[in-house]
Amino acid sequence: MSVETDVKTLVIDEQEVSARAGQTILEVARENEINIPTLCHLDGLSDVGACRLCLVEIKGSNKLLPACVATVQEGMEVSTNTERLQKHRRTILELLFAERNHICSVCVSNGHCELQTLGQEQGLTHIRLPYRNPELSVDASHERFTLDHNRCILCTRCVRVCSEIEGAHIWDVMGRGINSLIISDLHQDWGGSACTRCGKCVQVCPTGALFDKSKIGSDHPKYPDFLPYLNLMREAQ
């Protein structure tokens, strides 16, 4: 590819925008202040397109594309907030809420939880699906942090931040489907793992699944904004 920037023009929500080739729809939308809801995406981490909340409609295609991984094409016409998408987003959120035990009232992240906020934004008033109420454990073996599987939505941000940014790759996912579980090392207690205690996973966790032991009640805001800056500084070196 030449050094010159390859510019693509496309339409997002009836707004004409231009983008550099290789940019994702999500990036371009956010640059133009068009909001697309996301959960597994986090600026500074690679994308996996797992949560399916950022799905968008492309004119001429029956398939819905995840905006976080779909790259822009010349002449694309993207709709980010149709009725169909809203319905799917609500159903996805319902599925997330029904899958594990999300009890906001006693959660450390109450008031600053991405899942809770999305539920509010998408107008989720109740969960139509039967709750599964699985019996899940809490790993409190780490000296500083706690992992509560009940609140985990398997977004894998912790897995990615640990592997891509910290370079420790303590976290991974075991099992399949509803039996999936975030594990440290090869399913050892977090406290006994090779964890570097950096706390990045806690900061990037969108819910209260990973939290600081010293934070009790709902006084646990998280600050994942350090990632893009960290990446920028590393590239500059």
Binding site: G49, A50, R52, I92
Partner: protein, 79 residues
Amino acid sequence: MHTLLTRICNGTGTMDDLALLEDLCSTVKETSLCGLGQTAPNPVLSTLKYFRNEYLEHIVNKRCPAGVCNMEAALEVVA
């Protein structure tokens, strides 16, 4: 989905369950990342399309036209 189908099959399902089942099928079909997810709801969707009256029979009349489902749970509720 399985829970909803089980409910409908044993006669404790409601019309809301049917609507929810359809919603769920369409979401799974349209939003899945992999081919399995995109096709897995098809059997349910097909039966909903071609045998809708049987679903209704299960829900409204608590009866299994094909005589396959055990509807005891429903009878208990009614009794």
